[in-house]
Subunit: 364 residues, 2 copies
């Protein structure tokens, strides 16, 4: 018996919560006849459980999603009450261990196998919800998801897939999970990334680029030269060759494959630089009276632009290649960012891209 069924424990740590429901019977609802059920790990992020619970409340209101809150029952109940929510109308899975950002990711397998993250992953693996969302330790979520949820047969390794919000959306994978992948993982990433762009982002014929330090075929490390050669002969993708960092914002490709270390550097640099430039613009509009007048004139457009480059608008990134939807929300997600990550989980679960990857892999 898993801890998440332990109603007595829940009542003990949270006496106010006597009537709280533990997990209800759950049937998958991909046909869309009823609302999606999202399992949410509310612990171990940069922000408190209270902030993430707020995000869950927003998502429930906005998308009509059912949420299962996994984490410290006391904190969850307090946060619900503080926001005027009735505890009885929420499903809570109480846990008493947390994996932190500083913990070794591998610890999710043993020392922290009963952490909120591990339990939330087992819940989605057991079919207790349509998707799982966490804003915690990325490495631990990756190892846990691979161990508890498993990859789709034929997929060598799941990849963290992030959308870059440029002239057109670019899917970057791997963006931080596989820091030292083998070359054939990259061919896998190209295939599953192309399917994601087709099914979820409606790109008819996604172009695949290999991130590299130059356009020429001989560029890069031995790993990247080998990856280039392998991608050239990979069937079922439209490989256009190497893509440099400077060309990524201009829609050089739809799917950008790379190792997770380099992908993470690219993702965070793009995030930091766009935020930095936007801040300079904002300062320009505040510098003097004339600047302020100009700022008022373009206020609406400037706000829309700021929103466009705000990572919190994108919420999270799916681990592509897993048999169930697992979404990594940004580590410093606030309520709004978490709400958006939940929305992404719903979209991902609804599109049936996992079934599509399964079919493709069976054929291959």
């Amino acid at each position: 018996m898993h801890m998440y069924y332990d109603k007595l424990y829940l009542q003990k740590v949270c006496p106010k919560n006597k009537g709280a429901r533990t997990l209800s019977a759950f049937e998958s609802n991909k046909d869309g006849n009823k609302s999606m059920k999202i399992i949410l790990d509310v612990m171990g992020a940069d922000n408190s459980a209270a902030e993430l619970v707020k995000g869950a409340i927003l998502a429930k209101k906005e998308y009509g999603a059912e949420l299962v809150l996994v984490g410290d029952a006391m904190e969850i109940c307090d946060a619900l009450t503080a926001n005027g929510e009735s505890i009885n109308s929420w499903e809570i899975v109480p846990t008493n261990d947390v994996i932190t950002m500083e913990d070794d990711p591998i610890s999710i397998r043993r020392a922290h196998k009963d952490s909120s993250m591990a339990i939330a992953l087992r819940l989605v693996a057991d079919g207790k919800g349509d998707a799982m969302v966490s804003a915690g330790n990325t490495g631990a979520l990756f190892i846990g998801a691979t161990g508890f949820v498993h990859c789709i047969p034929g997929v060598r390794r799941a990849a963290l897939a992030s959308i870059l919000p440029f002239s057109k959306p670019v899917l970057l994978l791997d963006s931080g999970a596989n820091v030292e992948p083998s070359v054939d993982f990259l061919a896998n990433f190209a295939i599953i990334g192309s399917l994601y762009m087709k099914k979820v982002m409606n790109v008819e014929a996604p172009k695949v680029g290999l991130l590299n330090n130059g356009a020429e075929e001989h560029k890069g490390t031995a790993f990247y030269r080998e990856a280039h050669a392998l991608l050239k002969q990979t069937e079922g993708i439209d490989f256009i060759g190497n893509v440099e960092g400077k060309d990524v914002p201009y829609g050089a490709c739809d799917v950008l494959v790379c190792d997770g270390f380099t992908g993470n550097i690219l993702l965070k640099t793009a995030e930091g630089v766009s935020k930095f430039v936007m801040k300079q613009i904002s300062a320009m509009f505040k510098s003097d009276l004339i600047g302020k007048i100009a700022g008022v004139l373009v206020l609406k457009k400037a706000k829309a632009m700021k929103k466009r480059f705000d990572v919190k608008e994108y919420g999270g990134a799916p681990f592509l290649g897993l048999a169930k939807p697992v979404i990594k929300a940004h580590g410093n997600s606030d309520a709004r960012a978490l709400k958006n990550a939940i929305h992404q989980a719903i979209t991902y679960a609804e599109t049936g891209v996992i079934e599509e990857i399964e079919k493709t892999m069976q054929k291959a």
Copy 2:
């Protein structure tokens, strides 16, 4: 006898140039009593030799620098004449081979050992000028510089060092030369980068960061974990630990060390993203009448900001650790960018940072 002394050859390929001087006697002039002499490879860049010669003319006018133009004599003479320059007042070293962007970098050692780039490098190595500038093939320039100019004794490998123009200047090294360095190169980069920031950029106590995909010590690949451990025990630097891409624009460190592959991805991503965001802003100011009015109000400030993020303003990047100043100008440099790269070469030669590195390495 090197080809660059062959006056007859020069007259043959460029009959108009009968009176052109070949290389004059040259004495180093680091004491600043006379103008600097910069050896310029005008071939093998994205733009034509004519465009680069224009940059040389601008630099001569603006900084009073003496320039030695190395490349196709016909193209050089035509470009000088077209810009109203008297050929007789320029030093030209005619060459008849070029290393292109597509050539294997290693070819500078044999097949292209008499290319304009190789000859320009040998000139600076032989003491025929204070510094050498090229906008050609980065890899070839690195291999050529290492072979012809040599590293300062004690420096394991030279690094391409680029300034990132953020809230404060950040020196990124390596930014593209050593795509697969060994870990001890990174400790070297930290030492020479710190000296550069002290002597050239007047940063009193430069902070050194290691680029990584997370702040925690255990983050990154095996290579980066090893580099972290080595930097922690490297004397003479102020190592502050791992730095993520998102924190680089906010002055997390003054010197950012990494392998050349990842550094190049960071550099080009930062360049592409800042340019992309600036373009969006520019479009906002052009979208309608009110936008245009706002644009006029902040025109001067917006222009200054555009200039700030324009890589062409920074011109080039030095190969730190070499016994002579060698500056890599941006591959797609126009005349203005090349002029700025020449300015950087002058500054670099004047500050005496090479002597400072020599002294430090002798002590170590």
